[in-house]
Symmetry: C2
Subunit: 163 residues, 2 copies
């Protein structure tokens, strides 16, 4: 019940599979498959830790045909609203992004190295039911993100924080 249904490490996601799936879904929803977007998708699939829009902009400028800043922001916005990238909440000012897939997912973020574990099933059902009953709110959704230190970082004992 309060067991995460599925746990998957975003690190080393199947790059081509994700890119192809997003492309297919994109066309299916009457969007256009353009060069700049495909190149951005590849960059996004390569990240194993949350990245910012500016970071993606900078990184994609190592390509021959780098995208404009507006394209980066607009593409991220579209990917996010379709569920293909998730927003990660950090303590900083900029928004963090990480490749994901549509559905009810949550993230476990390492506060040292930033690596992300995605999981389904938060076991919040009872709480939401009770809250709804006690407050008369019609509950629509929730934001859950968990912080911790991954196995590697615990071993190393580093103390810089990404959170």
């Amino acid at each position: 019940m309060t067991n995460p249904d599925r746990v998957s490490k975003t690190v080393r996601m199947n790059l081509e599979a994700w890119v192809n799936t997003v492309c297919a879904a994109w066309q299916a929803t009457h969007h256009r498959l353009t060069g700049p977007r495909i190149r951005l998708l590849r960059h996004i699939a390569n990240y194993t830790t949350p990245f910012s829009a500016e970071q993606l902009y900078a990184d994609s400028h190592q390509d021959d045909m780098p995208p404009g800043r507006a394209t980066v922001y607009r593409t991220l916005e579209q990917l996010h609203s379709a569920g293909w990238v998730a927003r990660i909440h950090t303590t900083g000012t900029e928004t963090g992004y990480i490749a994901s897939w549509p559905g009810h997912l949550h993230h476990l973020v390492c506060t040292d190295c930033g690596s992300v574990i995605t999981f389904e099933g938060c076991g919040l059902g009872d709480l939401l039911t009770n809250l709804s009953y006690q407050t008369s709110f019609a509950i629509e959704g929730h934001l859950l993100q968990i912080y911790g230190r991954c196995a590697e970082c615990q071993e190393v004992g580093v103390s810089d924080s990404v959170r």
Copy 2:
């Protein structure tokens, strides 16, 4: 277990009580009680829905002795790190704040009017234990925020969203 331990509506919090408590706690931690801060505290206690730093800056400028922008940001930062104001995550760019009190608290936010219900006890214990076991993460904390529509907004049937 997954019952919220305590539920309280932030609306109409006891203004003077909160201000006095914060002031006392502030002095106890060797901070100085200055005019600008006390005036800001009063404004903060008055909000019934999340406010932004700029909003607080603007509102406090109806006083005779308005604070500088830096003071507003610095005060919010201090209040937040001491637990006296909570950060509310919105879809927008700016950070939302709401008066709170120290402890392990979460927020239920109305996506229509923005009113906030604070509650203790998220019943995440089992999930965290299982996640920790499955991922070998040392779990340090979590961010949980719930969205919904309050009773009043459900009646009215308004559809603008704050979320």
